[in-house]
C-alpha cells in the first residue's frame, strides 16, 4: 500500500481502510488472504496433530533407511542395500528417462504425422486420420498393455537362442538380441579407460567427458574455420573449401582419442537364463516408451495440423509464386510460422506425457511412482510423506518443463514491431 506514503492533505484514518475506495480492495484482499492462509495452516496443523496422535508424526528420515528391494532398470549404481532415498533417485531418473525418450519420439511422430495428415494424397492423409483416431480414443493404459503383451508374446524368449539350431538368432552381425524381456544392444567399452569420477551421488565417466571435450573443441575449431572462410569470401569473393577441413577437424581428434582409449564394442551374450553384457532396454521400458509416444503423438499430430492450417494460405501461395518447392515452402515458410501456435500445445502434451509415465507401475517399469509411491511407501508405511514428496517432485518436473518450453516459446514467437 504505497499510496499511504504519498503526502496527502487529509490524514490517514483507520476507518478509511473500509470506507475509502482507494484502500478498500486492498483491505478485502488482505483479509481474504489471511483467512485462506489460516485455513491452510489449520488443515496442515490438523493433519500433523492427528498423525502425531496416531504415533505417525510426519518425518522424512525413513529415506535414509535401507531400501532392501531391487530395481531392474537403473541408470545409476543401486543395490538392495542402498537407502530408500537412493531408490527414489533411481525411480526419478527412470521417470525422466522415459519422459525424455517419449517426448522426443512423440514429437517426431507428431510433426511427420501432422504434415502427412494434410497431404494431398488421399491414402496418406486418411491413414494418418486412422492412426490419430485409433490411438487417441483408447485409454493409454490399454495401449501400454498392448505394447507390453505384444512384445512378450511375439519376441522369442532368451532360451530360444540356445542350442545348435536355435529358434531365434541375434540381429545385425550378432550384436543385437531382441527377446521378450527386452532388447540387448552392444555397448561401447574402453580397454584403457580413464576411470570414473565419483561426485557423491553417481559416477561420471572420464572417457565420456574427454570425448565430449574433444568433440566440443573440434566443433569450435570448425566454426572458427568457417568464420575465416566467410571473412576471406567477403574480402576476396572466393570462398575456400571448408567441408573437408571441418570434417577432419571434428572427426580426426575424436577417432584418435577413441583409439588411444582402446575403444571396442561389447556384444551381449547368452549366459544362464538371460543375456549378459551390452545395454539392456527392458521390455517394460520399451512398452511404456512406445505406448506413451504413440498415444501422445496423436495429440501432437493434431497440434501440428492445426498450427499449419492456421498459417494464412497466402503465405503458401506467395512462396509458390516465388518458385519455392512445396517441401521447402513447408520447412522454410509455413512451419516457422506454425510453431508459435504449436508450441503452447506442445508444452501441455509434454507435461501430459511426463505425468502419464506414472502408469509404468502397471507393467513393472520402476519409475518414481513404483519406487517412492509403491514399494517404499509400502515397506515404510509412510503414506503421507511419500505422497507429499511424490507430488512435490512431479510439480517440480512439470514446472521445469513448462518453464523451459515457455522460454523457448518466447524465443520463437512472432515478434511484432
Amino acid at each position: 500500500m504505497s499510496d499511504a506514503a504519498i503526502p496527502q492533505a487529509e490524514r490517514f484514518k483507520l476507518s478509511m481502510l473500509i470506507y475509502d475506495s482507494r484502500y478498500r480492495s486492498a483491505t478485502i484482499q488482505a483479509v481474504v488472504l489471511t483467512l485462506v492462509l489460516a485455513f491452510v495452516f489449520w488443515i496442515v496443523n490438523n493433519a500433523v496433530t492427528n498423525l502425531a496422535a496416531l504415533g505417525k508424526p510426519i518425518r522424512f528420515d525413513f529415506l535414509g533407511d535401507t531400501a532392501s528391494y531391487d530395481i531392474n532398470q537403473k541408470l545409476i549404481e543401486y543395490s538392495s542395500t542402498d537407502s530408500h532415498g537412493r531408490a527414489v533417485l533411481v525411480g526419478l531418473l527412470n521417470t525422466l528417462l522415459v519422459a525424455f525418450m517419449g517426448c522426443v519420439t512423440a514429437t517426431v511422430i507428431g510433426v511427420i504425422g501432422g504434415v502427412l495428415r494434410l497431404s494431398n494424397n488421399w491414402l496418406v492423409s486418411r491413414l494418418m486420420v486412422l492412426y490419430v483416431e485409433i490411438f487417441r480414443n483408447v485409454p493409454l493404459l490399454l495401449w501400454i498393455f498392448v505394447c507390453m503383451f505384444t512384445l512378450t508374446a511375439l519376441a522369442p524368449q532368451p532360451r530360444a537362442f540356445r542350442g545348435e539350431n536355435p529358434e531365434a538368432t541375434m540381429k545385425l552381425w550378432d550384436s543385437i538380441a531382441i527377446t521378450n524381456r527386452g532388447i540387448y544392444l552392444p555397448e561401447p567399452l574402453f580397454s584403457r579407460s580413464l576411470g570414473n569420477i565419483d561426485i557423491g551421488i553417481f559416477l561420471i565417466s572420464v572417457d565420456l567427458l574427454a570425448i565430449l571435450a574433444v568433440l566440443g573443441a573440434g566443433i569450435f575449431a570448425a566454426r572458427w574455420n568457417s568464420k575465416r572462410a566467410n571473412a576471406i569470401q567477403t574480402a576476396t569473393g572466393d570462398r575456400p573449401k571448408t567441408l573437408g577441413v571441418n570434417t577432419a577437424l571434428i572427426v580426426v581428434p575424436v577417432l584418435a582419442l577413441l583409439v588411444i582409449l582402446g575403444f571396442h564394442i561389447g556384444k551381449p551374450a547368452l549366459a544362464g537364463f538371460n543375456f549378459r553384457g551390452g545395454i539392456n532396454m527392458s521390455a517394460p521400458l520399451i512398452a511404456l516408451w512406445l505406448g506413451l509416444s504413440l498415444y501422445t503423438g496423436t495429440y501432437i499430430v493434431e497440434a501440428v495440423r492445426s498450427g499449419i492450417q492456421a498459417v494464412n494460405k497466402g503465405q503458401t501461395e506467395a512462396a509458390s509464386a516465388l518458385g519455392i518447392r512445396p517441401g521447402r515452402t513447408m520447412s522454410l515458410v509455413v512451419l516457422p510460422q506454425a510453431m508459435r501456435i504449436i508450441i503452447p500445445q506442445l508444452i501441455s502434451q509434454y507435461l501430459n506425457l511426463t505425468k502419464n509415465s506414472s502408469l509404468a507401475i502397471a507393467i513393472g517399469y520402476m519409475d518414481l511412482v513404483s519406487t517412492l509411491g509403491g514399494v517404499t511407501l509400502n515397506q515404510t508405511g509412510r503414506e503421507m510423506e511419500c505422497i507429499l514428496l511424490l507430488m512435490a517432485i512431479y510439480l517440480t518436473i512439470s514446472l521445469l518443463i513448462s518453464g523451459g518450453m515457455n522460454w523457448y516459446n518466447e524465443r520463437v514467437k512472432l515478434v511484432e514491431r
Binding site: 489449520w42 490438523n46 493433519a47 531391487d70 531392474n72 503383451f149 508374446a153 524381456r181 513393472g364 503421507m384
Partner: protein, 338 residues
C-alpha cells in the same frame, strides 16, 4: 468432533483417526456391524462368489466375530483393501480390523502402530518355475528373471535371498496377480514368486499346471494374521480370543455339528469355560457368555474353516502343513481358556 471429521475429510481420510482409536467394540455395537478389511480377491482367502458374497478363509474369521458379537455372522461389512492402502484404512478407522493375508512383521507392528493379535495362517514365500528349465532348487536360479507382485513383503525376501546366496537376478515387478500370471506364462520371467499359499492358487489357474513345479525352498516366514489399531486392547482381546476359540475348538473336538450339544455342559472344564457353561469369560471380554458357541456354530472350528476354503478337497488344495494343530506336528496352538 464434527468439525474435525469435516475438515479431516478434506485432507484425506487418514488424518482423523485419533478420534476413533479407543473403544472400538462400543463403536461396533452402536453401529450394528463390523467393518472388516479383506483382500480385493485372493481365491480361497477372500473372494466374491457368483452371487457377490464374500467367501473364504479370512472371511470366515470375520463372520465368526460377527456371530460372537451380534449372534449374526452376516453383521459384517467387508471392505476390500489393496496391499497399499490397508494400513491407512485401519489407522483411519475405515475398518475395525484387517483379516487381509497380512504378514506380521516387526516394523508393521511397532512402526506402523498396528497390533497383530494372532496368526491364522502360517505361510512362506516359494518359487514356481516351468518344468522344462530343469531347475530343481532355488539355489540354481542365478541370473534368472523373477516376476513379483509389488507392494508385498515378497520383494524384500527375494532381494535378501538372492543377496545372501550371492546370486544375481532381474526383478520384474508387476502390479497385480493377473498381469504377473500372464507375463509368467509368456516366458517374460523364468520364476514366479509369492506366498506359497497364493502360488498354489496361481498354478491351479495356469493353462497347463502340470508343466510347472513349485520349488521345495520356502525362503521366508510369512505369518498371516489379523491386525487391529494400536492402543485399543479391549478390542484386540476380542479378536484374539475369538480366533483362539476356533483353534481351541479344534483342539478339544468341538465342531459346528456338536457345539450346541456340548454347550449344555460337558465333563471337560476347558470346554465348559470356553463355551460359557462355566465361569464368566465372555463377560470379561464384554461379550455374551456364549460368544464362542455362536462363532463355532456359524463357521465351525479352525480345521473346518481350513478344509472348507483352502483344504485339499478344494481347488486351492493346500495341505495343513504348518497350520496343523500343535498336537499333529503343526504350529496352531491356542492359549488355555481359563
Amino acid at each position: 468432533m464434527k468439525k474435525t471429521v469435516f475438515f479431516g475429510a478434506l485432507v484425506g481420510a487418514g488424518l482423523v483417526a485419533g478420534a476413533s482409536a479407543a473403544a472400538t467394540l462400543d463403536d461396533i455395537k452402536d453401529r450394528g456391524k463390523i467393518h472388516c478389511g479383506v483382500t480385493e480377491g485372493t481365491l480361497g482367502f477372500s473372494a466374491r462368489d457368483s452371487e457377490g458374497n464374500h467367501q473364504g478363509f479370512d472371511v470366515d474369521f470375520c463372520r465368526a466375530l460377527g456371530a460372537a458379537i451380534f449372534n449374526d455372522s452376516d453383521a459384517v461389512e467387508y471392505i476390500e483393501l489393496s496391499s497399499k492402502n490397508r494400513f491407512t484404512a485401519l489407522s483411519s478407522g475405515q475398518v475395525d480390523l484387517l483379516y487381509r493375508t497380512t504378514t506380521w512383521t516387526f516394523s508393521r507392528d511397532v512402526d506402523l502402530k498396528t497390533t497383530f493379535v494372532g496368526i491364522n495362517y502360517y505361510d512362506g514365500q516359494g518359487f514356481m518355475v516351468p518344468k522344462e528349465l530343469g531347475v530343481t532348487s532355488a539355489k540354481e536360479l542365478e541370473g534368472a528373471t523373477v516376476c513379483i507382485e509389488t507392494g508385498t513383503t515378497t520383494e524384500l525376501n527375494l532381494a535378501d535371498f538372492f543377496r545372501v546366496n550371492g546370486m544375481s537376478y532381474e526383478p520384474l515387478p508387476v502390479g497385480g496377480t493377473t498381469e504377473a500370471k500372464a507375463l509368467f506364462e509368456e516366458g517374460a520371467c523364468d520364476v514366479y514368486t509369492t506366498d506359497a499359499s497364493a502360488l498354489a492358487g496361481v498354478r491351479a489357474a495356469l493353462k497347463d499346471p502340470a508343466a510347472y513345479i513349485i520349488l521345495p525352498e520356502i525362503v521366508s516366514k510369512e505369518p498371516l494374521g489379523p491386525a487391529v489399531r494400536h492402543g485399543d486392547d479391549e478390542w484386540a482381546d476380542v479378536v484374539r480370543w475369538v480366533q483362539n476359540a476356533l483353534v481351541a475348538a479344534e483342539e478339544t473336538g468341538v465342531t459346528s455339528a456338536n457345539v450346541a450339544e456340548l454347550a449344555k455342559g460337558t465333563d471337560n472344564p476347558e470346554i465348559n469355560r470356553m463355551l460359557g457353561s462355566e465361569g464368566s469369560l465372555g463377560a470379561m471380554l464384554g461379550l455374551d457368555a456364549d460368544f464362542a458357541v455362536r462363532a463355532i456354530a456359524a463357521v465351525g472350528n479352525y480345521g473346518e474353516i481350513f478344509e472348507r476354503n483352502i483344504g485339499e478337497n478344494t481347488p486351492i488344495g493346500l495341505a495343513r502343513g504348518l497350520n496343523a494343530l500343535w498336537t499333529e506336528g503343526g504350529l496352531q496352538y491356542s492359549p488355555p481358556f481359563r
